[in-house]
Symmetry: C2
Subunit: 130 residues, 2 copies
DNA sequence: TTTAAAATACGAAATTAATCGTAGAAAAAT
DNA sequence: ATTTTTCTACGATTAATTTCGTATTTTAAA
């Protein structure tokens, strides 16, 4: 695992990645329609960005049929992890704890969510204890 | 508290805000020197950005003396909270839980940090129970 | 077969952010 | 008093991203 891997999906690249992770390999048309459920985005805009992402290697393209099918080339969890790290550095001086605090403080988690966290904590504790 | 307040400090604006929150009201010179402990940034670059921030209302300026003194106009916790929300939406579909999971999973918190979280959880539980 | 619809390719304009150079004013040093 | 240093003001440039128009190709419909 490289120490210096630079993932910088831009804002709209991330938007597209999210849709692909959620819906699986898709055409430009499909992604563009999804985007337009939220806000107006021209078809060629979506196309262009997806092409750029393919150039960068962020997406894989299958060009067998005319409607090219795009697949995210990046692992979802790994990518989100790196984005989180970056955000953490910029905003919380790298302290995950500070951020978790802020998140929990802000967000008033439900009982179920709290339980979920507690379970996770137990898991982590057990793992390190073993 | 408005529902639609738009905070978008850019990358370098956030960098400056962080320094101001940490060090208190400061001159451009001071902030620029702090930045240069980490990377080369021209003085006028820092100046320009801080002036823009002042225009936007992100910073307050005291111009009484020649060396203007800049103060963050935004509350640190509130701003970080909003940034977190934005990041959450973009990256974790708004789910604080997913993100906390990712953070805890990634980051392997120390025993002390875990305790800290557990305390916070207790606090939250008590608060909502009463 | 001709026309219409739906794709991609490509380039260029529009936006936004970041960087810096230069000028001029004010203060400090000599 | 003169020079040098230290500021701010301001504009211009660069760079990255986003957006979209137009041309061309391919497929589908009439």
């Amino acid at each position: 695992m490289s120490l210096k891997s630079k993932y910088n999906p831009t804002e709209s690249e991330l938007e597209i990645l999210q849709l692909l992770w959620k819906n699986g390999p898709s055409t430009v048309r499909f992604i563009n329609e999804k985007q337009n459920e939220v806000k107006a985005v021209g078809y060629t805009t979506t196309l262009k960005i997806m092409q750029i992402m393919a150039e960068k290697g962020t997406l894989d393209v299958n060009k067998e049929s005319r409607q090219h099918i795009y697949t995210p080339a990046l692992d979802e969890d790994e990518t989100k992890g790196k984005l989180l790290d970056g955000f953490l550095k910029k905003t919380f001086s790298g302290s995950a704890m500070k951020m978790v605090m802020q998140a929990l403080g802000n967000h008033k988690p439900s009982k179920e969510e709290l339980d979920e966290i507690k379970n996770l904590i137990k898991e982590i504790e057990n793992k390190s204890k073993k």
